[in-house]
């Protein structure tokens, strides 16, 4: 049997891996969202205000993916 100390160490390792890989996806998502905003604004500067609202919405939605990973990591830390 695996003793509880090893389980706890592995859970902490897993928490780190979880939040790390989760952050990769969210970072890519926000990066693409920023790219889209920059493209739109440089093509049509007058839509900047409206596009920024949609950008914030999209960034918040893709940021949520990292936060799902954060919740999982926090649950693992409690093990």
């Amino acid at each position: 049997m695996v003793d509880t100390a090893t389980v706890s160490q592995m859970a902490h390792l897993g928490a780190g891996i979880a939040i790390g890989f989760g952050a990769v996806g969210a970072g890519l998502g926000i990066g693409f969202a920023t790219k889209g905003l920059m493209d739109a604004v440089s093509r049509q500067p007058e839509v900047a205000g409206k596009a920024f609202g949609f950008f914030l919405l999209g960034a918040a939605l893709s940021e949520a993916c990292a936060l799902y990973a954060f919740v999982i990591a926090f649950m693992l830390l409690g093990k």
Partner: protein, 230 residues
């Protein structure tokens, strides 16, 4: 982050209540209700200051609903507006220095949305509302439009979405607020007087964005439930 948990028995079922969440939730509700009462008690054709603010808030809801739902959109405004106002108030409450008050068992007064029970309850309300609206709009064709292979697969996907949509709504709001609190407490440990301040300002932005996201997704779900199929 810790909750003041009170264990009790209701009809011989063990129930644990997060008392700090209940208290802060009632506080946020009271703020919204008092604002609504103050804003509407002396309505006039030439709006006063408070009425002008309330009217511009309502205009925001009407505009969003008009752009996202095609038919009969304004009857959804009570749910959508109260969700948005409550979530904004609840999220912003987390930046008040209420944590100086120490509660039993390490509980602390912060925003009520840092408790997944509250956000899950709101997500379930949204689920019930949009399913009801869809059934009202389409009757028995709400799930299955036609008895073909594609129709049945789409109905199964729809049933799956009934579970994943409330789950993602609840976890998104909860995790944003919870992560903000963790971030502030980590910054507090790293550099006590300067580092938390920009993060708390960012959290104010997050409070508005998350309330908007919750509202937008609610409207999108209602819109996809009531829209006409071709």
């Amino acid at each position: 982050m810790e909750h003041w948990i009170y264990n009790t028995n209701i009809l011989s079922h063990a129930v644990s209540l997060n008392l700090d969440t209940i208290f802060t939730m009632w506080f946020a509700m009271a703020v919204v209700v008092i604002f609504a009462l103050l804003a509407t008690h002396n309505l006039s054709l030439v709006p006063g200051k408070l009425q002008a603010i309330a009217e511009s808030i309502m205009k925001f809801f009407y505009g969003t609903l008009d752009t996202m739902i095609e038919t009969e959109n304004r009857k959804h405004v009570p749910l959508v507006a109260s969700l948005f106002l409550f979530i904004v108030t609840a999220n912003l409450m987390g930046q008040l220095p209420l944590r100086l008050i120490h509660l039993k068992h390490g509980g602390e007064l912060a925003s009520p949305t840092n408790d997944i029970n509250l956000t899950a309850a709101m997500a379930v309300i949204v689920l019930i509302y949009y399913v009801t609206m869809g059934i009202k709009a389409k009757g028995k064709n709400f799930l299955i439009h036609d008895f073909s292979f594609t129709g049945i697969v789409m109905a199964l996907v729809e049933v799956l979405e009934m579970f994943t949509r409330p789950l993602s709504l609840a976890i998104r709001l909860f995790a944003n607020i919870f992560a903000g609190e963790i971030l502030v407490s980590i910054a507090l440990g790293a550099m006590a007087y300067f580092l938390p301040l920009p993060i708390m300002l960012f959290e104010i932005l997050v409070a508005f964005i998350q309330a908007t996201v919750f509202m937008m997704l609610t409207i999108a779900y209602i819109g996809s439930a009531v829209k006409e199929e071709h």
